[in-house]
Amino acid sequence: MSASMARYACNSTEHTLSRRGMLGVLGGGVATAACGTGNLLANPLAKQHKRVLMVFLSGGVSQLETWDPKPGASTGGPFRAIPTSAPGVHICELLPHTAMQMHRLALVRGLNTAEDDHGKGHYIMHTGRKQEPSLEYPHIGSVAAKFVAEEENPLPGYLNIVPGGGGGANAADATFLGPKYGSVTISDGRAPENIDRPGGMDPQRDLARHEMRRAADQRFLARRKSAMTEAYTQSYDQALQLMKKKALFDVSTEPAKLSASYGTHDFGRHCVMARRLLEGGAPFVKISHTNYDTHHENFDFHIEQLAEFDRPFATLLEDLHQRGLLSSTLVMVVSEFGRTPGINRNYGRDHWSKAWSVALGGCGIIGGAVSGKTNAQGTVVVDRQVNGGHLFATYLKALGLDPAKKYYVDQRPIPMVDPTGSPISEVLA
C-alpha cells in the first residue's frame, strides 16, 4: 500500500493534533497504524465516509494535449511530453503542475466509448452506459448521493458547480433512484441566492411552515403524483438542507496564500468551493471547466484552457491530501470524448472517442498506475481497451461498492454497471 492509501481511522493520538499540525507529519506513513474502526468520533477524519470529485472538462479535451502525448508522431502536434512525479509516466508539457501530482493519479489510456456526439458522450461518461430508448440510467453523482452519503447528511448529495449563472441539470439525473438524488446546481461556485430565511424568521417558525407545506403535499400526492411533483417537493427540502450549511459558502475564511495558489478566475474559485463542500460532507461534487471543443486552432486554445486548469487542479489535489481527505475522495478528470489524432486544416482536432484517456485518483485508486495503451499515432487502442461501463464499475469498486449489484426498478433487476464493463483492476488498489 502506498502512502496515499493511508487510513485515518480511530482515535489515535495523531488526530488530537490540529489539522495544520498534521501537515508536517503526513506522508511518512504515520497514519498507517492499523486501527479498528471502533468509535466514530465527531472528527470527520475519523469517519470512513467516502466522497467523489468529478472534474469535467467540457467539449472534449484532447488526450494528445493532456494524458497521452505523442510528440514526434505526425499526429503529435507541437507540444512535448514531460516526465512526472510518477516514474515512467509522461504527460503533455501543458500540465506542469499536474505532472507533480501524477503519483496520486492513475491514467486510463485505452478508453473507447464509440460516441462522438457531445450529448451522447456526456451521457456515457455520467452514466456508464449508452443511451437506451426504454430506460434512463442515473448519473454516477446520483449513485454516489444515494449509496455513499451518510444517512443524516444534510447536504444534497449531488452538487454540481456550474460555470456562469443559470440553472442546470436537475432531478432528472437521478432517474429511478428518485429526485432526492438529482444534481443540485451551485451557480458559479457562489453561495446560492436567498439562502437566508425571510425577514429574520426564526428557525422553528420556518420548520413549522415547511411542515404545513409537506402536509399539504402529502394530501395531494396521495391521489396525484408524478416524477415532476416529486422533484418539486424535494427541491424545498434540499433548500432547507443547503440553508443549514450556509457557512460552507463563505470563502472569506480561506487563507490568502492558498487562495492565490488556486487563482481568482472562475475555475480556481470553483475548486475552492469544491474542496469546502467535500470537506463539509458533500458526497459528490462536480466542477466543470469550459471549453475544449477545439475544432479550430486546437493548440492555441489548449494552451489557454489547460493553463487555467492545471494549477488550480493540482492545488486542489494537494489541498485535499493535506487535509487528509484525498484517500477517501475518488477523483475523476473526464470529458465527453477526446480529440482526433489527425490535425485538420485549421490546426484543429475534431471529436474522437475511439482512443482517448481519463485520469482517476484518490480513494481506491493506485497513484501512478497506467492502464491501456494506444498505438504510435494514437489512432487505435492496442492494449486493454475499456468503455464507459468499465469506468463506472471502477468508480463503484473504488468507493467500496459492489459493481455486480443490481437496482430494482418496479421489481425489475437492472445491473448497476453495463454488462460489458468490469472494474479496471490495474488502477484499483
Binding site: P78, P163, D293, H295, E297, D300, F301, I303, R345, N346
Partner: protein
C-alpha cells in the same frame, strides 16, 4: 414588389475590368513553381536575394527550396529537409547579407543556419523563450524574437549571445519586428495590442487593434492576434492581418481583416475587408511597393485579395459644439469611423492558406498551403 415606371436614365457604362497596376496582374496569377512537401506546411519566407524559399512543416522540419530556374525558365525546386527544432516553427528570418537563415520555434529555441548551402545544419542556438516563439526579425547583427511568454528578446549575430530582453506584453506575442530603419521595435500580441519601442527598450506608443481580438465568452477563450504584418514601402505604416467578427472561435467562424496604422504617429489609416464574406483567418499580408496590399486567408479554403494603398485620411473629427446630424454643408465634415475598404481584385486559391511571403524585389509571391504544397507565383 411593384414594377414602377422608371424615369429615363442614361445607360450605365459597362463595369470596368479588374484593375491592373503596372507590372502586376493578379487576375492572372501565374504559377512559377509548385513545391510538394510530405507534411502540411506552416510558414514560408524568401531569402533576401530571392534565390531560396524556406518553408516549415508540421513534422518539425524546415525545407530549403532552390528557386534557380533552368535554361527553359522552369524552377525545379530542389528540396533539402532541415531538422533542428523539437517542435513547429513559424518564425523564419534572415540576416540582410544573405549569410544566415534564422529560425525560431515553438520549442522556444532560436537557431541560425548557413543560408543556401547543400547540407544545412544549425550553427548556433539560444533558448530565447519559455514556450512558443512566434515572431522573429533581424536588423544588422540584432535578432529580435517575441514569444508566448510575453517577452521580447534580442540576440546578437553571429553567435547569438544574449542582448536585451524584457517583459513586453501580458499575453502571447504574435509578431516582433524592427522598423525598416532599425531604430524602433514593434511587437503585437493576442489581444491586438501593438507596441512601439525605442532602441533602449522604452515603449513610445501603444495601439489597440481591438477588431483583431475577441474573448469568446461561449467557449471561455481569447482568439485573435496579428497573424501577419507588413511595413509600407516608406516604412511609416504597418498593415496588420488577423481574424475579426468571430461568432464561434472554436469553429473558426470569423472573417479576415487587415488594419493599417501609421505606427510613427499613432493614426489608424485603413480597414481592409473583402467584398464577399470569407470564413477564415488572415494569415498573410504583404505591402507591395507598386501601390497595393496583398492579403491572403485560410479557413474555408484559401483566398488572395489586393487593395489599393491610396487610402484617404479619415475626415477631421467634429468640434465639441457641432451637432452629430447629417450635415448639408459639404465644408463641415462629419466624424467618421474608418470605412472598410474592399479589394480591387480577388482570387480563389486551390487550398487552405497557412502563410504568404513576398520576395524583396516584389516580383514573386509564395504561399504555403495546409495540404503540404508551397506555390510560388510570378507577379508581373
Amino acid at each position: 414588389m411593384q414594377d414602377k415606371a422608371k424615369p429615363k436614365e442614361a445607360p450605365k457604362p459597362p463595369p470596368p475590368p479588374p484593375e491592373s497596376i503596372p507590372g502586376f496582374h493578379l487576375a492572372t496569377l501565374k504559377q512559377a513553381a509548385e513545391l510538394k512537401n510530405g507534411s502540411p506546411l506552416l510558414a514560408c519566407r524568401f531569402s533576401p536575394n530571392g534565390r531560396w524559399l524556406y518553408t516549415s512543416a508540421q513534422d518539425n522540419t524546415i525545407q530549403q527550396w532552390d528557386l534557380t530556374a533552368d535554361k527553359d525558365g522552369k524552377i525545379a525546386g530542389k528540396k533539402v529537409d532541415m531538422a533542428g527544432h523539437a517542435s513547429w516553427t513559424r518564425a523564419i528570418g534572415f540576416s540582410a547579407d544573405n549569410k544566415w537563415l534564422i529560425t525560431a520555434g515553438y520549442d522556444g529555441l532560436l537557431l541560425t543556419w548557413p543560408l543556401g548551402v547543400p547540407f544545412p545544419e544549425p550553427v548556433r542556438q539560444a533558448q530565447a523563450h519559455t514556450g512558443w516563439i512566434r515572431g522573429v526579425d533581424c536588423h544588422g547583427e540584432r535578432v529580435l524574437t517575441g514569444g508566448n511568454d510575453g517577452r521580447l528578446a534580442i540576440h546578437l549575430l553571429p553567435d547569438l549571445r544574449p542582448g536585451k530582453a524584457w517583459q513586453a506584453h501580458g499575453c502571447h506575442i504574435y509578431q516582433a519586428s524592427f522598423s525598416p530603419d532599425g531604430k524602433f521595435i514593434l511587437s503585437a500580441d493576442l489581444k491586438g495590442r501593438l507596441k512601439v519601442w525605442d532602441g533602449s527598450g522604452q515603449m513610445v506608443r501603444e495601439f489597440a487593434l481591438s477588431a483583431l481580438h475577441k474573448y469568446d465568452a461561449g467557449f471561455g477563450a481569447d482568439i485573435g492576434g496579428v497573424r501577419a504584418w507588413s511595413f509600407s514601402p516608406d516604412g511609416a505604416s504597418i498593415a496588420c492581418s488577423g481574424i475579426t467578427n468571430v461568432s464561434n472561435a472554436f469553429a473558426g467562424v470569423g472573417n479576415p481583416l487587415i488594419l493599417v496604422a501609421n505606427w510613427t504617429t499613432g493614426e489608424m489609416r485603413a480597414e481592409l475587408r473583402s467584398k464577399e464574406a470569407f470564413q477564415g483567418t488572415g494569415w498573410g499580408v504583404a505591402w507591395h511597393k507598386a501601390g497595393f496590399i496583398l492579403g491572403s486567408a485560410g479557413g474555408n479554403g484559401g483566398m488572395l485579395w489586393a487593395w489599393k494603398d491610396d487610402f484617404k485620411p479619415p475626415a477631421a473629427p467634429l468640434k465639441k459644439d457641432e451637432k452629430k446630424e447629417p450635415t448639408k454643408d459639404p465644408k463641415k465634415p462629419e466624424e467618421k469611423k474608418l470605412e472598410p475598404l474592399n479589394e480591387f481584385v480577388a482570387q480563389k486559391l486551390p487550398d487552405n492558406v497557412r502563410d504568404m511571403a513576398l520576395s524583396a524585389d516584389g516580383k514573386r509571391l509564395a504561399i504555403a498551403y495546409q495540404g503540404g504544397v508551397a506555390r510560388v507565383y510570378t507577379l508581373a
